[in-house]
Symmetry: C2
Subunit: 484 residues, 2 copies
């Protein structure tokens, strides 16, 4: 049954929560008295539709239903999750969380997006909320800091993992949780640097993104320093740099006065740095960068890459289309497009290469089979690019087995863009011993599974296979030339 979440307070954060739930197949009820709420959430959602599915190599579930309510009680009736994202004022949080605790089902998680308040503060007037603190853009960044009563945070963590997020449950409540304390430290020091004319906002951003930002995106602080310590390890690093703590390196013992002058200085520098792009353009640039970097981390499984891999595995389905196994269903990421404004030729092959991997897993040549020292190597491929494909398009790949005797696996992939055939990819693989790097016969179970598919698919046409490049029309190959 479709699950439901209520979003209390729209805006960038509430909208990001709504998008996470919706795109993972949940129904979402929004309550926000702001007349602009529908427009604002629509804008976040349009960014999210473009970016979040691009993280995955499998299609996400069908989107849930989005509804707007003018009555808070109706919005939270029968939901599994209520997320409060109202402005950061304790009196307002008390009022809203108190009402939600009365109105929402007893079984519902009530999460607060607060960046600073502790559960003991939020619940001081009898509410039953936990902190569920997200990071902008909520539809892309996996971290949620959970703070509160153990049974509630455990339930929350399970739900969050189900929508592809990374819950980090705090051991103790503390003002501003963990991440915002670190951010606050950097923010204060940066304000000093700007105020004192040491660096502009742009120079500070360069100092971050050209160096430690890249380290932190994949390992964080301590693991990075562990490496810096070399074989001598963490103790050595601390012996070397620990004493610096007592040097006068930062002005952090003090807080800069937040004058209009400082605000103008920073806003002006920020205009010089980024004013040539609209916020919408900056958001899309950020999202494309974030998607690209997280996709890069999928390879090692580090950090956010690991979270996305785990969720991707949950998205696998077993389907058929036209009597053939569906070996891929996915959305095309912007990073797959090129200067011609369409999917680059490379990614037609990438999509079908992943389909080959999937087909191998279906017939039993899966991860553990490969770990045992056997696999298939591709020896030849022919691609017909029949139609342009664009970022955001939804691809479905079917795989037809053209032959599978002995060491051979001859596949014919069709890349469907909706109901239009965008490409065919014909590929010949040979079964190989990974130790000797020589071809060999597959294990019997794999051979049988391949043979069964080959027999089942034998009668089907395969228009466009057997062609050579530039051949005038789709002719069948001459029988004497074909090996399968």
């Amino acid at each position: 049954m479709t699950r439901s979440a209520a979003i209390i307070g729209g805006g960038v954060i509430g909208g990001g929560w709504a998008a996470r739930f919706l795109l993972n197949g949940w129904n979402v009820n929004v309550f926000d008295p702001d007349p602009e709420a529908e427009r604002k959430i629509g804008e976040v959602l349009s960014n999210a539709r473009r970016a979040l599915p691009a993280l995955y190599d499998n299609a996400m579930p069908d989107e849930g239903e989005l509804q707007f309510f003018s009555d808070m009680g109706q919005a939270v009736a029968n939901v599994d999750w209520v997320q409060e994202s109202v402005p950061e004022r304790l009196d307002l949080k008390h009022k809203v969380l108190g009402a939600l605790s009365d109105l929402a089902p007893e079984t519902a998680v009530i999460g607060s997006s607060t960046s600073g308040f502790k559960p003991s503060e939020l619940n001081a007037e009898g509410a039953r909320a936990i902190v569920a603190h997200p990071f902008n853009p909520v539809y892309l960044l996996p971290l949620i800091e959970l703070v509160g009563e153990a049974e509630r945070t455990e339930k929350a963590a399970e739900i969050l993992r189900g929508i592809g997020m990374f819950p980090l449950t705090l051991r103790k409540e503390i003002d501003a949780h963990i991440a915002d304390r670190l951010l606050e430290a950097v923010w204060r020091e940066s304000l000093w640097l700007v105020k004192d004319g040491v660096a502009t906002t742009e120079e500070i951003d360069e100092a971050i993104r050209m160096a430690f930002g890249i380290r932190w995106a994949q390992m964080g602080l301590f693991e990075t320093y562990r490496i810096a310590g070399g074989e001598a390890g963490m103790k050595h690093f601390m012996a070397q740099f620990g004493p610096a703590l007592e040097w006068p390196w930062t002005k952090l013992m003090d807080v800069p006065e937040f004058t209009d002058e400082l605000v103008d200085l920073i806003a002006g520098q920020s205009d010089d740095q980024s004013g040539h792009m609209s916020i919408r353009e900056l958001e899309r640039l950020r999202d494309d960068n974030v998607v690209g970097m997280i996709r890069a981390l999928k390879r090692s499984g580090s950090g956010a890459g690991g979270v996305v891999n785990a969720h991707d595995a949950n998205l696998l389905t077993n389907e058929t289309k036209d009597g053939l196994p569906v070996t891929a269903r996915r959305q095309v990421p912007a990073s797959w497009t090129d200067y011609n404004g369409h999917m680059n030729e490379t990614h037609y092959l990438e999509a079908s290469s992943l389909a080959t991997d999937r087909f191998m897993a279906i017939v039993g040549a899966d991860e553990s089979y490969i770990a045992s020292g056997k696999s298939y190597f591709t020896v030849e491929t022919h691609i017909r690019y029949l139609d342009e494909v664009h970022a955001g398009d939804k691809l479905t790949v079917t795989t037809q087995v053209m032959g599978g005797e002995g060491k051979k696996l001859h596949l014919f992939h069709r890349l469907w863009n909706g109901e239009s055939l965008a490409a065919t990819v014909e590929t010949l693989l040979l079964h190989t011993d990974l130790n000797t790097r020589r071809t060999c016969l597959p294990e019997e179970a794999v051979a049988k599974a391949v043979a069964a598919y080959a027999e089942e698919h034998a009668g089907k046409d395969a228009d466009g296979h057997g062609r050579h490049v530039g051949q005038r029309q789709a002719a069948a190959p001459s029988p004497e030339g074909a090996v399968t």
Copy 2:
């Protein structure tokens, strides 16, 4: 003429500098009394050889010559750059930088890797050094903070850009420059969180890399917050979060005492978190992640991606091999390999797709031609995978024009791995109007350039072209079937 750098003090930082210069074709002289220096630098260099060229889509120059000296004067004679990376003690820096200022050529830049000292401190006893502060791994991260006398930092900046780095020249000298002040702020706050039992080292790393680390790697702090302010902009963001500065969010007004107990606590947690991997394994994981993320940023040109793109353009050469234009020379990044331990089929096509782009540029269908609304679209491709290719292998791609009448561009790429033919990629493109998305004739200049190549290449054999998948042997296509 090959330029030379002297590295004073080996270790991880000195070794990283050595690798940057060497892999960019400089000769490098090392002076370090440590008997282990040669081994240590060798280890850094072996990591760098694997990772740095993987950032680029063009081959780097031939490596310079590495020499070790036991006499500092000999090491710095006739060099263009001297880099001091000795331990962080001011008396030692005075002694070494003073000697270098006497021994090195007057024209040489003398850079200090100091993370904390100001030029006025370094030069208090008459040295002529500037701060040139790098970030580990020096062979991958582009940032160098430059501080010192304007004429010297300008000269240094030009040299650094020439070896693919990003010099950031400070407006004012300040303890710990810019980036380390921010790092120090986070380090202090993190030590408090661990000491107070709020979070472990692993939890802090997760809080960073699952959220703001990913934001910062591509935009930094201020541009990220500008987005958070939405259309209302930076002022709105500051109005919203500025007051939080006065809240008791951090303990940064104070410095944790650096006791043995705290060191043990952190070292122990770090062992739990990362102790299952050796430092060498962690380094390679980090490097592969960093390379993957920076390569992802190349697409938008944000941050380090833009620095790598600019350097990549400098690496382009015009060569021929076997009478054919060389359209790609590159090292294979680890991210191009797959579960079979070799280059994935997708990247055979990626390498030749980039070669097609390069060939298009050679015949005048370059960036500005495409911007004018005309381009080539690939309609069909045939790939023969002839040999395995591994991470770190050096590929050379040649391009033979099989035909180029009218709208057609029929190419035959050969992927050479050293002197061994690893693949052939035959591809047919049609010239297209980017506005109507319909085929059309190319501009005359492009048509002529293509025709000239077609004529020049007409007599050459093209073993393996015209095949269909699974064809028993490399037969020529039947003439009536071929369009080119």
